[in-house]
């Protein structure tokens, strides 16, 4: 019996952390200032949103803390500002800084929640369509086509109207976050399904899948244990774009009055709430939350672009 003399690449089996540090991902992250900046910004925004109850000077949901007389105060660098309200106040006298912190929280929650739902539906449907093929594939993909032919807006209007009509407007605003997650999640799962299906089609031709079949494994196990882990990179990449999209969709819906109520605002409904005052000089109520939204979405998108470049095997040849 022969023994191979050369040992495999000289990496000691050093756990996941070691593998990450040796990876191309980490290597190119270390060299890319833009990606570092984006990740730092994103982490800062997420951290602020998570810590909102501790960071915010006031609780914007608590009506007792609102002083209607202090409405439309400008931010600190403009004359007439009140040092208690760093970024000024909105039309109802809520502290803008506090309400932005809480609003970012709502926006991120909806963004991540909706993407989680999209991913769940999309991955399962995409995996089934790609792996089983034939009629299942045809059925699921036509379903996806139909879904894509309705815009998110239309789904929101229809669902909103139906819920409001059957369960009442109060119910809708009470469960607005859940509703928005559901609407955006349902409207955009085909993006995931298509991506996953495409990479499943590529993976299932590889011989390790045949080897698993020859072993006698059940289709379900092959799909989830063998094929799915190998389609994770594209899922990862598309997720960043989809989170940004979901946040934008939410903002758009809220701006049109189909999303979060003003009592419980997201960044989108804040922009909308301030929009009426833009002409009267209180521009900060709209533009400051707007800037936050732009920075948030931009950093996610740029990070997604970087990730796609790194993970694209055609561009990456080590």
């Amino acid at each position: 019996m022969s023994t191979p003399s050369s040992s495999p690449a000289a990496t000691p089996a050093g756990g996941r952390w070691q593998r990450l540090r040796d990876s191309y991902l980490w290597y190119s992250f270390k060299r890319d200032r833009g990606a570092q900046l984006c990740l730092a910004t994103l982490l800062a925004l997420v951290g602020m949103a998570l810590l909102a109850p501790w960071l915010a000077p006031t609780d914007p949901y608590d009506l007792a803390q609102i002083d209607i007389l202090a409405s439309e105060l400008p931010p600190f660098w403009i004359d007439g500002s009140d040092p208690a309200y760093t970024l000024g106040t909105d039309a109802q006298g809520r502290d803008l800084w506090s309400i932005i912190l809480y609003g970012t929280r709502v926006s991120l929650l909806i963004g991540f929640g909706a993407v989680l739902l999209q991913a769940l539906l999309g991955v399962v449907f995409g995996l089934l369509a790609g792996y089983l093929g034939g009629r299942v594939d045809a059925l699921l993909m036509r379903l996806a086509d139909i879904q894509l032919s309705f815009s998110t807006l239309m789904v929101a209007i229809v669902v909103g109207a139906v819920v409001k009509a059957t369960l009442g407007g109060g119910f809708y605003s009470d469960y607005a976050i859940l509703m928005l997650i559901l609407i955006i999640g349902l409207a955009e799962w085909p993006q995931y399904a298509r991506t996953v299906r495409a990479s499943v089609l590529a993976e299932k031709r590889k011989e390790y899948v045949d080897a698993a079949k020859v072993m006698g494994l059940k289709s379900r196990r092959i799909m989830f244990r063998h094929v799915l882990p190998n389609t994770l990179s594209p899922i990862f990449v598309i997720s960043t774009v989809q989170i940004a999209n979901a946040i934008i969709s939410e903002a758009a819906l809220s701006f049109l009055g189909l999303g979060m109520p003003e009592t419980h605002p997201s960044l989108g409904s804040l922009i909308k709430a301030g929009f009426d005052y833009l002409q009267s000089g209180a521009w900060w109520i709209t533009l400051i939350p707007g800037a936050f939204l732009v920075v948030l979405v931009l950093s996610i998108n740029l990070l997604g672009d970087w990730l796609r470049d790194v993970m694209n095997p055609r561009l990456y040849k080590g």
């Binding site: 022969s2 191979p4 003399s5 050369s6 690449a9 000289a10 080590g318």
Partner: protein, 339 residues
């Protein structure tokens, strides 16, 4: 003077793990009409050698040193424009995958005419006539129709014939063929190789044939180089190397062929595998796999693991091996004692 003369060619790749030396100290010459084989396993550097001859090495690779003289002209450091006048015109290449050379959206004729017009001032009609003539030379059935067909309408063997026709289009002095028949079936491979051999002989074209197949090399080439881990380890007339290989690696490669063993018995394998170029062992790159690191009397030969072997002349061949050098030195010593 040789038509092509390569001296101390040194090619490196700047990778993120550091610099990898893909080729070291490659030396060879090619005369007009001569056929040279470059043999080695994947990763030995034989394709890199072929690409660097025409300065076609893609980033992150670069030529770090040495000299390539073609017809008296130094190619290293030559401007892209002047290089292009040599590429395709006086030296042409044939790749393993015909679809790498053929453009799928142009007909065979269009591609051949385009190639001719790029290098010569020539009328379209005249170019088409030359193209047709070249297709006839490679013995393609009904060449007139082929001119107006797209590459995907042809079979694999026919595509490789077209590639050869394109390579011959400008009457080059040298054809570099990188595994030209590896993707083809045995019967087609035999046809294409015979054709290539006949055409090279008839038109006095030099051939550099890159392959891993010792059988093909032995039939087509006059001289051969055996490469291992980025170096040439043995060079000489093909017949002599095939009949009497000197380097332990060349011997190992030949002995590992199923033809060399009794059917059903164990094949004579070489242990281990070729190390990646980034992790070459010290001394002779082959020494961890070599059976001759210890001498016949059981003593170690320390040079094998410490010092890169130099070439020694053994008959008409050159071999880079400490063991061979030692044996030759001993033979020379006994010769001297005798008179």
């Amino acid at each position: 003077m040789a038509l092509l003369e390569v001296r101390d060619l040194d090619v490196r790749f700047a990778l993120r793990q550091g610099e990898v030396r893909a080729l070291r100290n490659i030396n060879f010459t090619l005369d007009r009409g001569e056929r040279l084989g470059l043999v080695g396993e994947s990763g030995a550097g034989k394709s890199v050698a072929a690409f660097s001859l025409l300065n076609l090495i893609a980033k992150p690779g670069y030529i770090a040193g040495g000299s390539i003289r073609f017809d008296g002209q130094e190619l290293i450091g030559l401007g892209e424009r002047r290089l292009r006048r040599i590429r395709g015109n006086r030296v042409s290449m044939i790749f393993q995958d015909p679809m790498m050379t053929l453009n799928p959206v142009l007909t065979i004729g269009e591609q051949m005419v385009e190639c001719l017009k790029a290098h010569r001032r020539i009328a379209s009609r005249e170019a088409r006539a030359i193209a047709l003539h070249k297709l006839q030379q490679v013995q393609i059935p009904s060449p007139e129709t082929r001119l107006d067909q797209y590459p995907h309408e042809l079979s694999g063997g026919m595509r490789q014939r077209v590639i050869i026709a394109i390579a011959l289009l400008l009457d080059p002095d040298i054809i570099i063929a990188d595994e030209p028949t590896t993707a083809l079936d045995v019967t087609i491979q035999a046809e294409i190789m015979t054709l290539l051999l006949e055409l090279c002989e008839k038109h006095n074209v030099g051939l550099i044939l890159i392959t891993h197949d010792l059988g093909v090399v032995s039939q087509v080439t006059q001289r051969m180089l055996v490469m291992y881990a980025g170096r040439v380890i043995e060079a000489g007339p093909t017949r002599e190397i095939i009949n009497d290989p000197q380097h332990p690696y060349t011997q190992g490669l030949m002995n590992a062929l199923p033809q060399m063993a009794t059917p059903g018995s164990h094949l004579n394998q070489i242990r281990g595998s070729m190390p990646p170029l980034s992790q070459l062992p010290s001394g002779c790159a082959f020494h961890p796999r070599c059976d001759f690191v210890t001498r016949a009397d059981g003593s170690e030969r320390p040079a094998c693991s410490r010092q890169v072997p130099d070439f020694v002349a053994s008959g008409n061949c050159r071999v880079a091996c400490h063991m061979v050098a030692e044996m030759l030195a001993q033979e020379a010593a006994t010769e001297e004692d005798r008179p």
